[in-house]
């Protein structure tokens, strides 16, 4: 895969959301992905992504996590399945 991978974490800036952001960054690093994980708190953008539950994660605009924080292994699995 040579395609650019875009991972975005959406949250309201609450501690739970920040924790998910850290875990996703960690997972991306462990998977050795060449990508910046973005953290988005702008509601305009959150609504544009079609999200109704936070925190959430998208990989290339596909929602893979919404409304809960899975275990670190599960996060890694979900990311690697969707790149």
């Amino acid at each position: 895969m040579t395609q650019q991978i875009i991972i975005q974490v959406f949250g309201s800036g609450c501690p739970t959301c920040k924790k998910l952001y850290e875990q996703v960054k960690q997972a991306a690093a462990e998977l050795k992905l060449k990508t910046e994980v973005a953290y988005i708190t702008d509601y305009q953008k959150i609504m544009a992504a079609g999200l109704m539950a936070l925190p959430a994660v998208t990989v290339n605009d596909k929602i893979i996590i919404a409304g809960l924080i899975p275990k670190p292994e599960k996060i890694k699995k979900l990311i690697s399945e969707n790149i």
Binding site: S12, C17, Y43, M47, G50, I63, P70
Partner: protein, 322 residues
């Protein structure tokens, strides 16, 4: 008949055989009461939260939104409040839910019915009530919560408050299908299991703490001690309980066992119900977050209507239950 009698026997056995405390002594009674309540509530938490989160996996917010869009306002208010029972509520999700509903054209009043019911009728509060007050009080709590949510929404809908929302260009709904993709049943079970243990990890300590202090009050504070201050005949008890309840959201699991012990010592049941509804339904952190998308005036009107509903419920139950 007490459905939990095996736990009672277990608690008594632990107290007398394992600890061991002299059977029939006062300390043994208090300790056994503590062990019994803790085991009972832990079991209820695991079972009920698992069932609720399994049901919830069939009702993602996107699906609820689709159902609510097609209803007329009054049915919409009722359904929105009912959906609020099974939806989890995290202040993190309050805004995307709220905006997502408005984005789909769901009326503001219906959206508010959901926003009131969702945190107020939450599964942790429900478990604590069921475990410590019995199913009657738990049922009263759900029913009054639903009625308050439905009517608050209808009133806010009639007041035409749309101009008090912050300026927002909501745009089109882009990918509602993403969350509506079919899910395997094993994934639903996994979700329910994860969610249940997640909540359990968050609240187990507060339950222990709350029940512990509750057991101490149960054993060492004289009965009717609080009747003088907070009996049914004290007019100020209900509003005072509501005001105290507003900043206490995070600790619902620890507060309810305490409140249960206080009820035993003379606080009227309506006052207790009002207090618990204020703890869950009127939360300061939620208001602070809502401030980002609506004007302060709307938050105050919202809190005022819900608060008045809670106070009314409190007085009503103090009047009919003695």
């Amino acid at each position: 008949m007490d459905f939990f009698w095996p736990i009672k026997i277990l608690a008594e056995t632990i107290t007398v055989k394992i600890l061991p405390l002299p059977a029939g002594s006062f300390l043994a009674e208090v300790v056994s009461y503590f062990i019994y309540d803790v085991i009972k509530i832990y079991l209820l938490l695991l079972i009920i939260i698992f069932i609720v989160s399994l049901i919830r996996s069939f009702l993602p917010p996107e699906k609820i939104r689709l159902v609510l869009v097609r209803k007329n306002p009054y049915w919409g208010n009722i359904l929105a409040a009912l959906f609020g029972i099974v939806t989890p509520f995290c202040t993190c999700s309050a805004i995307p839910l709220f905006l997502g509903f408005l984005q789909a054209g769901i009326p503001l009043g219906v959206t508010f019915s959901f926003l009131v019911a969702s945190p107020m009728i939450n599964e942790v509060a429900l478990v604590m009530l069921l475990g410590l007050f019995g199913w009657r009080v738990a049922a009263i709590y759900i029913l009054s919560g639903l009625i308050i949510a439905i009517f608050s929404g209808i009133i806010i809908g009639k007041l035409k408050m749309e101009n008090l929302l912050a300026d927002f260009t909501l745009g089109k709904i882009l990918q509602p299908q993403a969350a509506l993709a079919p899910i395997k049943f094993s994934d639903r079970l996994a979700y329910a299991k994860d969610y249940t243990f997640g909540i359990f990890k968050k609240v187990w300590f507060f339950v222990l703490l709350g029940v512990g202090v509750g057991a101490w009050i149960h054993g060492y504070v004289p009965a009717d001690f609080l009747t003088r201050f907070a009996g049914a005949d004290k007019w100020y008890a209900v509003p005072l309980a509501v005001i105290i309840g507003i900043p206490l959201y995070a600790n619902a699991a620890g507060i309810i066992p305490l409140v249960s012990a206080l009820t035993e010592k003379g606080v009227a049941l309506g006052t207790t119900l009002a207090f618990m509804m204020a703890v869950t339904g009127l939360s300061l952190p939620e208001f602070l977050i809502l401030k980002k998308i609506m004007k302060l005036k709307l938050i105050l009107i919202f809190a005022g209507i819900v608060g008045a509903g809670i106070i009314f419920t409190g007085y009503l139950f103090n009047l009919i239950i003695f």
